[in-house]
Symmetry: C2
Subunit: 138 residues, 2 copies
């Protein structure tokens, strides 16, 4: 992991579909040497995969919820199972220190779905709901 590797990561974060030749031009290496370095970063587990940034509003998921979870019992499995059953809505489930036990990030198509999800959720845990109004990704 040297400065060149960091520039590879930076460039691939911007556009992971650029060719190894193009990426090589950015970091002043041949496409082949670049591909070898990228392969090494994959093998090291630094690059975990290649994905897309999608506009969730445009695929019908305008509601973005941040839900602080307060587990009532020490037995978290029913809650975790509930998440598994509703994974279509769940983006992240962060186990946190501080306020609450988990911070749950979800996406919903409508308030009806959000409401139904919260109704189900309340069988297992207490929660506090925050809705994202605007997102500023760096």
């Amino acid at each position: 992991m040297d400065a060149t590797d960091r520039r590879i990561i930076e460039a691939l974060q911007q556009n992971s579909r650029m060719t190894m030749k193009e990426l090589g031009e950015v970091i002043h290496l041949t496409g082949q040497a670049t591909a070898t370095r990228v392969k090494k970063l994959e093998d090291l587990g630094v690059i975990e995969g290649y994905t897309i940034r999608i506009n969730e509003e445009r695929i019908g998921l305008p509601i973005h919820a941040m839900i602080t979870i307060y587990t009532t019992s020490t037995f978290h499995d029913p809650y975790l199972l509930f998440l598994k059953e509703h994974r279509q809505f769940v983006r992240h489930n962060y186990k946190v220190s501080g306020d609450g036990c988990y911070l749950l990030e979800c996406r919903f198509p409508t308030n009806q779905e959000l409401n139904a999800f919260l109704d189900g959720l309340s069988k297992y845990v207490n929660y506090k709901l925050s809705l994202v109004i605007h997102q500023n990704t760096q």
Copy 2:
């Protein structure tokens, strides 16, 4: 946006570097027809870009903080400027309803950097810190 487009998005979320030919095999189209559909999804703004999943622990950013921000004045610009000056640490700044005004997601190399960041932050806003212990991405 039909079922085929949704399958394209699903496949590209798994691996955005697959070839259009490979993707075409998944959705039973030629590489050319697939590339045309992907281009359309880009033009529609559904696909916003191509990026990588990186292991932030392995690039020296093991500390994952969720910071609830309570602005003391109605003038948020000093806080937003502070974020801009420390954008290396900032992943997301969500404007939220509910508890607090913003939910700030950050990454830090060490507790020293986190501490320095919080010292700076406290000049502009009140905050409540949560540290992510474990992350469960769906």
